[in-house]
């Protein structure tokens, strides 16, 4: 079995050359949409309309790059709470995202039962997420195990933060997937913080990817602010998984552009200098520059795209706000499935 750690994962140029311009623009649109929705959620939070927000800001390239390497409607995802951009690519609509934010009855994620950002949609093969971190990692291995038992060729993709890799479920899940060469991709989105705890107090290795070889699988560290680099690394992991060669551990190095959540104030543990420098790693600005440089998107086209996205976010917000709240009597529904 090939085991390697790639410090220099393939870069933008490799994948950018291969993907059609329409796909590149669509990737960009997804990133911008995720950001715009996310920013709107914070505004709604500060306006007292949404009790809780947790962001994907800074993680967009890692998520969009990875999700574009998956096949919608076929592959299964288990995205953690920062996975807004992931679920948008997999087919969730902005309105559905907003329905969850406002805890509306028609929210497809949970009907307003869970906090926002606990994604789920059976139709989209997005497996329901809980709050205890890392529990989805054994699930991902199990979805892969079932796929192997059934002889199917779907790939399973799950995401989590670097702090979560300290959980036992990280070890147990990856180990099982490695033992049986299951078609699972484990994406760690390393933003260097678990709420306030920095990476060096979480682990003694430099990169989460260093752990791959310990499980007998490839561990790949990639610049997670480079959407095309993540796409390329994930595309290879998908191929490997579909071939039956087993799982891959991918560390996407990202930045957390916001506080941990709307209940956190990161100025209490991040210096002003650091907060400034993370801004310089904004994955959306980076991809916009790439697209302009390669004449794949003009400034005017970008303005138009952003205006369209803003209108979409407005419409989603308004529709979701109008949607009804769950009826109190529905509290008792769905404790057990009926046969």
């Amino acid at each position: 079995m090939a085991v390697s750690i790639t410090d220099h994962a393939p870069g933008t140029a490799d994948a950018g050359a291969e993907l059609p311009a329409t796909t590149l623009r669509e990737m960009f649109r997804c990133m911008v949409l995720a950001r715009a929705l996310d920013e709107r959620m914070w505004l709604l939070n500060r306006a007292g309309k949404a009790p809780f927000v947790i962001s994907c800001q800074g993680h967009e390239a890692a998520q969009v790059g990875a999700a574009f390497a998956l096949t919608r409607g076929k592959d299964v995802t288990l995205p953690y709470y920062r996975g807004l951009a992931t679920v948008l690519v997999m087919g969730m609509t902005p309105e559905e995202v907003m329905l969850a934010l406002f805890a509306r009855a028609t929210d497809p994620n949970s009907g307003g039962r869970q906090m926002p950002a606990h994604y789920s949609s059976r139709r989209l093969k997005i497996i329901t997420q809980s709050s205890p971190v890392g529990t989805q990692i054994p699930h991902a291995a199990g979805v892969g195990l079932a796929e192997k038992i059934k002889g199917g060729d779907a790939v399973v993709w799950t995401s989590f933060g670097e702090g979560t890799t300290s959980q036992g479920d990280f070890h147990e899940g990856i180990n099982l997937a490695a033992v049986h060469r299951l078609p699972v991709i484990f994406q760690c989105e390393n933003n260097e913080y678990a709420i306030s705890v920095p990476q060096h107090q979480q682990m003694a290795v430099r990169s989460v990817a260093d752990r791959g070889p310990a499980y007998g699988i490839p561990g790949i560290s990639v610049d997670g602010t480079d959407v095309l680099a993540v796409y390329e690394v994930t595309r290879r992991a998908v191929e490997r998984a579909r071939r039956g060669d087993g799982p891959t551990l991918i560390e996407a190095r990202v930045v957390r552009l916001t506080a941990h959540s709307s209940d956190d104030n990161d100025r209490t543990y991040r210096s002003p200098r650091e907060l400034q420098s993370t801004r310089r790693s904004d994955p959306i600005a980076r991809f916009a520059a790439y697209l302009h440089e390669h004449d794949l998107l003009s400034e005017a086209e970008e303005r138009e795209l952003r205006a369209q996205v803003a209108a979409e976010v407005d419409a989603a917000t308004e529709a979701a706000e109008r949607a009804p709240l769950p009826e109190p009597e529905s509290l008792l529904n769905h404790v057990y499935a009926q046969s």
Partner: protein
């Protein structure tokens, strides 16, 4: 009808269900070549191969967690926890995940899986091979908890559990595995999850039990019959959902109630049954509701005198029955 023991009944249920439904697989420690430490899955790997009778890594959280994921990908997993005492690392996956997924997804996802766990004491298993775990898990909505006492019930209930669209914790009392034999029909049948079963009808007092204690209660009831006391013995069989109607119906007839389990008394399942009786049969009661349970020590010790002192016995149960009858 052939007579088989409880362990064989469980194996037959797994075997017959696996032969019919290729989505079913078994996942647990040593379940493959070894056939499980108790030999429940003996021979099944030869029939169904290593992709359906799978030796898991020694890691309980992923035994349950992977089955949760597999259940959501159109398979029907049967997880085996080698001893119920080792279920604690999987607590999070059972309680926070398996039991909540249907509810938290507003009915979108279901987790049809069985978690088999050998439990109970009286087998020189000491602190970590004797535990009762039913009260902890019966507290959890979204989970079903089954604890059969006879081969007939074990086979029929396990088949129902495998077909159930919900996660079912299936508790197999270790001491009953080979000790308890009974007639099991050759035709395909089910015992539904939910209903209790009156294993011995009686008039003077009602006794509620499950697992090994059911048999100790039947033995004690036999002794009391010789003394002219007619004891009704109710096998709860399913702890969640609990058959409240049968419990209350029995107490309304006999006016006296005793609940017996091995688990520690405080916070044990008997407390729930006693509360239901107090709530729904207060007017009919002629005596205080009695409970027998293990003492409130952390777990069952190894040395025989200590183990005996912990375990409820037919003698201790008979003594409580006499007290109640005389009240």
């Amino acid at each position: 009808m052939p007579e088989i023991n409880l362990l064989e009944a469980i194996r037959q249920a797994i075997d017959e269900m696996m032969a019919q439904d290729e989505r079913i697989f078994v996942f647990g420690e040593d379940v493959g070549r070894r056939g499980g430490v108790f030999r429940v899955t003996e021979g099944l790997i030869d029939k169904y191969g290593p992709m359906r009778i799978i030796d898991s890594p020694l890691a309980e959280s992923v035994i349950v967690g992977a089955c949760v994921g597999a259940a959501m990908n159109d398979t029907r997993p049967i997880a085996e926890i080698q001893f119920a005492d080792f279920i604690a690392p999987a607590f999070n996956q059972i309680v926070q995940e398996a039991a909540r997924i249907h509810y938290r997804s507003n009915g979108d996802w279901t987790v049809p899986m069985v978690i088999r766990a050998p439990w109970g004491g009286g087998i020189h298993g000491a602190l970590y091979h004797s535990q009762s775990i039913e009260a902890t898990f019966a507290h959890v909505p979204g989970l079903k908890v089954v604890a059969p006492a006879t081969p007939y019930d074990a086979k029929g209930l396990l088949k129902s559990a495998i077909e159930d669209p919900n996660p079912v914790l299936f508790l197999e009392h270790k001491k009953t595995y080979r000790l308890i034999k009974g007639q099991v029909p050759e035709h395909d049948y089910r015992v539904p999850i939910g209903p209790a079963d009156i294993k011995r009808p009686g008039e003077d007092l009602s006794v509620f039990a499950y697992g090994l204690m059911l048999h100790y209660c039947l033995e004690a009831a036999q002794a009391l019959a010789a003394e002219g006391v007619s004891v009704e013995v109710v096998d709860l069989r399913t702890l969640r959902p609990l058959d409240v109607a049968t419990i209350i119906g029995s107490v309304r007839r006999t006016s006296k109630a005793l609940i017996v389990h091995e688990d520690n008394l405080t916070g044990g399942f008997g407390g729930e049954v006693a509360a239901l009786i107090a709530e729904h049969a207060f007017e009919q009661l002629d005596a205080p509701v009695l409970r027998i349970g293990g003492p409130d020590v952390p777990a069952m010790p190894f040395a025989k005198p200590l183990e005996d002192a912990f375990m409820p016995s037919p003698q201790k149960i008979a003594a409580a029955m006499r007290r109640l009858a005389a009240y």
